[in-house]
């Protein structure tokens, strides 16, 4: 899965750099002067799972065009705008990491706990929690499996 992500990075001409970001900042996607760069927090590569999740989220920013100016929001409207774009990138991330049919397959196998699903898909539990809250996924589950 990680190699698939690296293939996308290569194909889309997105560069990777490592940086000393604060602990809670795992990655940043930057578009500047027509170049695309993903900055990753140093040390994150110690966990393949984390690296995969962060790269997928950054790719979400790229593929959905959800980017914004690098400054604090000046008003409530800007704040909402940033949240919306981060949400859109996250949504891309989770459906990339967990395609719907694969998710249903897991459920059918009786894998239903958050931690079990996280193990099964080799992603953070946070990704699973975000995923199962999405309307599209709830509808999917309602439809029977």
């Amino acid at each position: 899965m990680l190699s698939a992500i690296f293939e996308i990075l290569e194909k889309e001409d997105i560069n990777l750099e490592w940086w000393d970001f604060p602990d809670y900042l795992l990655g940043v996607y930057v578009e500047v002067d027509d170049c695309k760069i993903i900055g990753l927090k140093k040390g994150i590569d110690k966990s393949n799972r984390k690296l995969k999740c962060v790269l997928a989220e950054e790719l979400g920013h790229y593929f959905t065009g959800s980017t914004y100016k690098s400054k604090n929001p000046e008003n409530y409207r800007e704040k909402i705008e940033i949240s919306r774009k981060e949400y859109r990138a996250k949504k891309w991330q989770v459906f990339y990491l967990i395609p719907e049919e694969k998710f249903l397959e897991a459920i059918r196998k009786g894998i239903t706990e958050v931690w079990e699903l996280a193990e099964y898909f080799d992603v953070d539990e946070e990704v699973i929690r975000f995923y199962i809250k999405l309307t599209r996924v709830r509808e999917l589950l309602k439809g029977g499996y």
Partner: protein
């Protein structure tokens, strides 16, 4: 990127066909195609409509935009970056601008 290239890039990102975008703008598809090939330019009003439909700033379309970012955080609130993070991102942007940028 030229105006036309940026327009095509973002139109595709939004999953809009050339015909669909033309329809939304109430112009002929050939007009959109000419913009994307840099043979014509849209007027101010159309530029504004383009920015609304594509959900992108006019600055971006005109190539006047500063660095744009997206983040991956370990924090619950996605919009409130601490100042320390903003500073760190700014430093990172300076670094990549020097390494990859034209300026």
């Amino acid at each position: 990127m030229t105006f036309g290239e940026r327009l095509r890039h973002i139109r595709k990102k939004r999953g809009l066909s050339l015909n669909k975008l033309a329809e939304l703008l109430n112009v002929a598809p050939i007009t959109v195609s000419r913009w994307e090939r840099n043979q014509r330019e849209p007027d101010f009003g159309t530029l504004q409509k383009l920015s609304e439909i594509l959900d992108i700033s006019i600055d971006y379309l005109l190539g006047k935009e500063d660095a744009k970012i997206g983040t991956s955080l370990n924090l619950e609130d996605l919009s409130d970056l601490p100042d320390e993070a903003i500073k760190s991102i700014e430093e990172f942007i300076d670094f990549v601008r020097k390494k990859y940028g034209k300026k």
